[in-house]
Amino acid sequence: MTLKNSSEEKTIGVVGLGSFGTAIARMLAEKNPVVAYARRAELVDEINQNHSIDGQPVSKNIIATQDPEMLCKSCEILFFMVPSSAFQEVVRAFSPYLYPYHIIIHGTKGLCLNLPNGKSLSDMKVISRENILTMSEVILKETVVVRVGCLAGPNLAKELSKGQPAATVVASKYNEVIHQGQNLLRSDKFQVYGNSDIIGVELSGVLKNIIAIASGALAGLGLGENAKGLLISRGMVELIYLGNALGGSLKSFVGLAGIGDLVTTCNSTLSRNYTVGYRLAQGESLETIQNTMSEVAEGINTVRLMKTFVEGTGMRAPITENLYKVLFEDLLIEDALQYLMKYPFSVDVDFL
């Protein structure tokens, strides 16, 4: 190991430079040197030569590379900021260079499928909890790294990049990971909370995307704040039931990464998931929307996965199930809404 002892000089790795990855790299670069991994060669050159990302200037503290080995050798702490669809593949590319002393914190709000070899989701009648991996579970499965954490919370990348005040949650089973995350990210404008229920925090970030799509759809239909209030609170109940079934704890769902993120995403045109719902309600097809978006809306994949999971457990998740029909089976949003209005929710809150 050729690491420096002082935490001031520690080089931090950032894997993936999407909008959130870039925002995190900027924040980290305020205190520490950063090595960033990007897949596009032009981006690597742009960062190393012009110190900018897509034309926006960034700190000279950030250098970029396409070489996982170089990144792993120079950093003890890595932030994985890759969309869930590419997560497993990227982690596998890094795996040969990762050692037990590494710490990984990820910021991906999606799920990954873990199916028997050669099977795809459409082959599976039902899927159970073992077939679903959160991103931290992917890291544990694919690498020897054990000290793993996640970042979640209301962190719209555009607002973070402008330096507006915000907060996040670093969740890990290991206090040392939480402390490292706090030391690296905390600033006057950025508050960092700790949580030991990493699965609950990951699921909060993942499941809220379903509700965000629905919320965008309501807005796209031109419906008002009463409807949104209804959706958010019923959505919260659904999120908690699904989250518990997947092994998260209630406490995390009512925290910053749960309610906090849910409220933010359900109200923001900056959210990709919200935008998907909005444009659907405006009459665009899912295909057109996906083709014209520069980054992935994680919620779409999450809806598909959770719908299959719900069927296997015998639970009911009316919002998820209807959203699935809207997204993949051409159910009209208006009809889905009608169905939800008639659905017999009799008890307001029965989970506390």
């Binding site: 002892n5 935490s7 520690k10 040969p96 050692y99 037990p100 002393y101 054990v146 290991y174 040392e176």
Partner: protein
């Protein structure tokens, strides 16, 4: 019966999957000179060792109380209260004569200290620490093993030769029976799995063997196995209740047992116990933990482990790295072991306890069916003369994070790349102590051990028939919960043989599929014809119980005489999702 054993033995000679194969083997001792045995070295310096344990645990407790006198005082008072309660309510023969007196003196000193207002704080603190010192010293002395090499040799020879006599007396016919060496204990108790790796690593690093625990006989059995494998004795924590019985106390002491008193749940005791284990591992003494903490009451393979002792393995490993011992001599290896029985003597009382605990949470006293030497001897005689086979599966060695290790003891990731266990204890470039991290590592190790238990577990015909029969009965009575199911009148339950056979075959097919995926092991007798397997299973399942869990009635159908016992033996195959077949 002797024919049957013969069949099994012959059968074993057929080539099969490697680890399922049992080849009778003679193992030379890995350390021929007893002076080289770590446990002998430890017993020679027993006095100093006990002292260092007491001192280290005192430091730990002071660390836990944060140097706060009020907290320390409270801990001491709680300890005193609980100890007095124990002496009054649950005294045991093995308790020292001066127990009452000692704790009375502690009481006196504590009273005097708290009434005293003239002594300055620093002086008072010193006095509280002095009391703690006495307590940890007493506990360390009480816990420490009394290993004596001469006793060990004697005990070992009793077990091997004495039992071999019994075995041959029962099996060999004619005058020669008393002198025959045709059968040895190794025919009776098969040892399979990674024995060579274990022997190899035991000569280089420190082994912690973690077996499943179903019967009080396990301690002796494992002791014998360790000796057959040519390993120096392991120390292990044995329930103090076992020392109540003279014959057991003798065996335990000579096999290197230290004492664990489950009545004592106070902080100083638990910390002293952990320190003892951790220091012994650092000393290089091989240890044996029953990670379930106690015998499995349900008959299930342990799924929730007691992590207290296990954490000492991780602690000792980190301490070795902190001392700069980075090579294999300071490495701690975890070796899971499963013991597979057709018959568990204590099954009736174990399952009864299990049901009363799960049925309604209530306190139950530690009871003992091995209460007299007579009962034990009777059991041992039955066991050795009648033949109910036992097999012991030795799993692959792992590091304290649960990674498999290669022949040189290097940890490997799942792709076979060598990694340093030391790196898991590094923060900012240095090995450091982080108790919260080690707690999580302990949980992780616990989960890995449970996984390995399920993989190396060896299915017997008796487990198969018990599992199938119970699941069939459960399916026929879908609406009943477990407790009502177990209360069904036994005379009403009949399984038609042909249907039973069909279901056994289905479960067996699934077991072989699991085996193909390396998720379980099977005994060679499961490769015979299905009728033969079933009759072997019926003959063996819980064979010495007054009420048999499964028997054939006069029409050739399957009936049970005791549902709870059937449930107990069925549970051995819990945790493989086999119940989904029904």
């Amino acid at each position: 019966m002797s024919n049957l054993i013969f069949v099994i033995f012959v059968f074993n000679l057929k080539p099969e999957a490697l680890t399922d194969d049992y080849i009778k083997h003679k193992y030379d001792p890995i350390l021929p000179q007893k002076d080289e045995w770590p446990v002998v070295k430890l017993s020679k310096s027993r006095k100093e060792f006990v002292k260092s344990v007491a001192e280290a645990s005192k430091k730990r407790i002071l660390g836990l109380t944060g140097g706060n006198v009020a907290v320390l005082k409270e801990e001491l008072e709680t300890t005193l209260y609980r100890e007095k309660l124990r002496i009054k309510q649950n005294p045991w023969a093995v308790d020292p004569d001066d127990d009452y007196e000692f704790w009375n003196n502690v009481k006196g000193s504590l009273l005097q200290l708290s009434a005293d207002i003239s002594t300055p704080k620093i002086e008072k603190k010193k006095k509280y620490i002095a009391i703690l010192d006495e307590i940890t010293m007493r506990y360390a002395e009480e816990i420490a093993s009394n290993f004596k090499h001469t006793h060990y040799k004697f005990t070992r020879s009793i077990i091997t030769s004495g039992f071999a006599r019994l075995l041959n007396a029962a099996r060999v016919k004619g005058v020669k029976r008393l002198f025959s060496n045709q059968y040895s204990l190794q025919d009776k108790i098969q040892i399979i799995g990674e024995t060579e790796q274990l022997r190899d690593l035991a000569s280089k690093g420190t082994i912690i063997m973690v077996p499943t625990h179903f019967s009080n006989l396990d301690s002796i059995l494992i002791g014998w196995i360790i000796s057959v494998l040519g390993l120096p004795p392991f120390i292990y924590g044995a329930g103090l209740n076992l020392f109540n019985i003279d014959i057991f106390a003798y065996f335990m002491n000579s096999l290197g047992a230290y004492k664990v008193d489950r009545r004592k749940k106070n902080l100083p005791y638990l910390e002293t116990l952990k320190t003892y284990s951790s220091e012994a591992i650092q000393f290089g003494v091989h240890s044996l933990f029953f990670p379930g903490g106690t015998r499995s009451r349900s008959g299930k393979i342990e799924s929730k482990l007691k992590l207290g002792l296990l954490s000492t393995a991780i602690e000792a490993q980190r301490a070795n790295y902190q001392k700069g011992i980075n090579d294999i001599s300071g490495k701690v290896f975890i070796v899971p072991v499963t013991i597979n029985y057709h018959f568990v003597l204590e099954a009736p009382s174990l399952i009864k306890e299990y049901l009363s605990i799960t049925g309604q949470e209530r306190y139950y006293a530690e009871s003992d069916e091995f209460s007299t030497s007579y009962k034990i001897s009777k059991f041992l005689f039955k066991f050795f003369t009648k033949g109910s086979d036992i097999s012991v599966s030795v799993g692959k060695a792992m590091d304290v994070l649960g990674h498999y290790v290669d022949k040189d003891g290097n940890s490997m990731d799942k792709n076979g790349r060598i990694i340093e266990t030391r790196d898991y204890f590094i923060s900012n470039g240095e090995v450091n102590l982080d108790t919260q991290r080690e707690e999580e590592y302990t949980n992780r190790l616990g989960n890995r051990i449970v996984e390995e238990f399920h993989i190396i577990n060896r299915v017997f015909s008796s487990h198969l028939v018990a599992f199938t029969a119970f699941q069939m009965i459960k399916k026929q009575n879908k609406k009943l919960d477990l407790f009502n199911l177990l209360r069904l009148p036994e005379e009403d339950i009949v399984l038609v043989y042909e249907e039973f056979k069909k279901e056994v075959q289905r479960v067996l097919d699934q077991i072989f599929e699991l085996k193909a995926n390396n998720k379980i092991h099977v005994a060679p007798h499961l490769r015979r014809g299905i009728d033969e397997i079933i009759s072997h299973g019926l003959d063996n399942v819980g064979m010495y119980h007054a009420k048999r869990p499964l028997v054939k009635n006069s029409e050739g159908n399957i009936i049970t005489e005791d549902m709870s016992l059937l449930y107990f033996y069925h549970n051995r195959l819990d945790g493989y999702d086999l119940e989904k077949l029904f």
